[in-house]
């Protein structure tokens, strides 16, 4: 290996280690940290974040990188494999982004979002938009400033989007999302009416048994407990602390086993991607998901494409019945599956069915794009929210707590994040279509509980490439064509209208 490459990998390993410590601090905060230890946790997170920033912009790292790639033009200056060239470009991109934000700006952004996150739970609980509005105004202003500092060609939102979806732009996304929105709205009236059988359970589901079942499901999906964990948290998530240490969480509802099982499948999708990342690139930026949307395609693939399929429940329902013999005694597989298949437009994004979910995302995309371009103001959000819910045939919130304050993303400064959720849905459906074409007996394998063909399929198509390709090229390579909503719409039609 080239000496410069070795040196860069060595320096990057320290950045990765600090990042993994940050992940553990955040994981602990959401799982086991005593609630009132938050002040000390904030100091710890601030300390590592600042050390990480210093490492990423250190003179040693900058100079070493500059000796391998021209930082202004991006021209490679040393003999380099294709992978190392890609790594150099990634390093350069991240360094320039870090350098473009003055420390004072970074600190102001962090302090502003910390305040907003502190206020957010109360504002949500009270449905009190004016309480959080001044903070959101500041966050929107700072996000516009961030876009200006980073620079963009056409639309300031492009600069923010790029954090989550490298290379994606408003000019690409807007027509795609408009088309998707129209087709989804047209689809809703055609979906099955909910089954006439009752859609709730009458017996409780022991949380300890639910957790154990989640762990068994993870093992069936190939997770080794000596490299992974399942814990409980208020909002389910997956953290890859390291390739060797994948931590997933779920939230358990004692009145139904569904919410936790779908969370486990969702987080398992992220977790599988994490544990299958290319080890050979582990000290480079290539050993990470290609984008948030690609990562989300993996979680949604397992949660919806597989998790809401009849073959999966043919395999898993007997296990579920065995775990809860009394509670499920009177539910046949058909009755149970009809409950899963119910399409019922919801106020709440995270409770949405597969058909309407992306409408919630597109609405958020439209609002945050308008905020960043200045065509609406923060004070307009509650009104625009209601208008857009109605336009999407979704219910009208009675207060902002179940409307525009339901998600924490804006309060945490994550403007530009939402589109990844819809992109994940679209790509998941494309991968599912290819799976069905190339592996016609996928359903029989799943019914037998044999997931390995699907696991290899995803590993080959997505996981093993890490960030070697741009998201667009990865999609091209995996599906043979640019991203398109056709498979997604067809999948929803197949599953929910026929």
């Amino acid at each position: 290996m080239h000496a410069i490459q070795q040196h860069l990998c060595f320096l990057f390993q320290k950045q990765r280690t600090l990042q993994s410590i940050l992940s553990l601090l955040e994981w602990d905060q959401e799982t086991y940290m005593p609630a009132n230890a938050i002040a000390s946790r904030s100091r710890q997170i601030e300390c590592i974040t600042s050390l990480l920033h210093k490492e990423k912009t250190s003179a040693e790292f900058t100079q070493t990188l500059a000796s391998a790639i021209d930082l202004s033009s991006g021209k490679i200056l040393v003999p380099a494999s294709l992978a190392f060239q890609t790594a150099l470009q990634e390093w350069r991109k991240e360094l320039l982004q870090e350098q473009k934000l003055p420390l004072a700006f970074v600190e102001e952004f962090a302090a502003t979002t910390a305040q907003a996150l502190h206020i957010f739970p109360e504002a949500k609980k009270q449905g009190n938009f004016p309480l959080i509005a001044p903070h959101l105004e500041k966050i929107v202003d700072l996000s516009r400033e961030k876009a200006r500092l980073w620079g963009y060609q056409d639309h300031p939102y492009d600069a923010l989007l790029d954090i989550y979806e490298p290379g994606l732009t408003v000019s690409y996304l807007s027509p795609l999302f408009t088309d998707l929105k129209n087709q989804l709205i047209a689809l809703i009236p055609q979906t099955h009416k909910s089954a006439s059988l009752p859609c709730v359970f009458t017996h409780p589901f022991d949380p300890i048994v639910q957790k154990k079942l989640g762990e068994e499901l993870l093992q069936a999906l190939g997770f080794d407990p000596s490299h992974s964990r399942l814990d409980l948290s208020t909002h389910p998530f997956c953290t890859g602390i390291d390739i060797q240490d994948t931590r997933m969480t779920t939230k358990i509802d004692p009145t139904s086993p569904l919410s936790s099982l779908f969370s486990v499948l969702h987080e398992a999708g992220h977790g599988l991607y994490n544990k299958n990342l290319p080890m050979e690139y582990q000290d480079t930026p290539l050993c990470q998901p290609a984008s948030f949307g690609i990562d989300e395609s993996q979680s949604r693939f397992w949660e919806t494409c597989i998790g809401k399929s009849l073959p999966f429940w043919r395999y898993f329902y007997p296990k579920l019945q065995k775990s809860f013999p009394e509670a499920l005694a009177s539910y046949s597989l058909e009755h149970f599956y009809s409950m899963i298949q119910t399409v019922s437009p919801s106020l709440i994004r995270i409770e949405s069915d597969e058909v309407t979910y992306s409408l919630h995302i597109i609405l958020r995309f439209e609002i945050e794009k308008s905020l960043i371009e200045g065509s609406i103001q923060v004070k307009d959000i509650p009104r625009v929210w209601k208008e857009k819910m109605a336009e999407s045939l979704l219910p009208t919130p009675t207060h902002d707590g179940e409307g525009c304050l339901q998600d924490i993303h804006w309060a945490m400064g994550g403007i530009g994040y939402f589109p990844s959720y819809a992109l994940g849905n679209i790509l998941a459906a494309e991968l599912f279509a290819i799976l069905q074409q190339t592996m016609p007996h996928w359903d029989q394998e799943i019914q037998k509980g044999n997931f390995s063909p699907i696991l290899s399929f995803l590993e080959q198509k997505i996981h093993r490439h890490g960030r070697f390709y741009t998201p667009k090229n990865l999609i091209l390579q995996a599906t043979g064509k640019p991203l398109s909503i056709d498979s997604y719409i067809q999948h929803l039609k197949n599953r929910y209208t026929m």
Copy 2:
């Protein structure tokens, strides 16, 4: 506050924050980390350890400190409160110690103990002393070198002892321990014979109920779950990640509730000290336990003085019976308490009764002192161990796994640590004697489950002083006289021979 003081506290806060991150990494490693994530965990710990060393010896910290205290003479150079003067002396002492060890030495020591710790479990399991001996030889050599680098007046062991018990020396400890050993050996034949009633339980004790009971006990002792936790680990421990975040662990034996309850009481003793440390000194070295021995006096006070007292079980046994009605149905309080009171010399230190425990410690102290002074060699340990066990009226191990390989301390490089355990026992008994004198109704309060008078007593005597006093002065102030074994021997006589 003086500007230099402010600056030092500011720099020290970063050291404390890094230390707290290290504590969390270690806590997670022992509680929830997937077993095979150890390589990534080692990188994380190494990274923070090295950052911490850099902060502790940074030019900025050194120069700021040197402007407030003459680093060679210890003369204070700025107007300073008594507390700040003490903090300056602590900072100076730690800085000089950090500076005296060359980085190459620190790294060699860390690499050597890492290897030894890797080998240790197998050597212990096999009772295979030759497997670990070469590593222990290296550790003894490096420890002697460490003592030389740090410097000492009379005995090289003094330099090592000073890490755990600042100011303590062999010339002080040797006669104290010899006296204690002789008196304990004389005491053993006088203790009660074990009760004729059966000393084992016949029903299982549900681990989940045991854990819940441990948590209830912690709450009764004043722990607020929003600032503390109880988890499970192979070896119980307490980590004060921060004053606001006290984490204790226990180990649950499904055949008896005693082991976990005594662990909970023990770790609660450490935890109470941690959560009551003086907040007003939080950005100085004064906000930490005065020494390992003082810290151990708190854990042993709760585990033995209180936890093995009849009044405690008058309070707690009904709760225990309520939790395990079936398993304890045939055990009266008297029968149960006679099981706790059994004196039965054990091979294993951590399973020892209150009477013989310190003999295990003195034996280890004698061996490690001889190793450091060179009067015995590592290869002599197994033989000397058996001789000293016999001399102390303790059973003779049939293999080294239950003998000199039972404890991990030497493999982790902790020569000098063991004496703190015996010092903790002695001081705990002294505090207990004062409690009984100054609060004659302590037993009635405990029987009612009212721990607050004892909690205030310990807070006033020990906790709130942090490291403001040297251990010797803290003991003087708390007990009115230098450390003495009289109360300890009298306590053992009262409880186990009368």
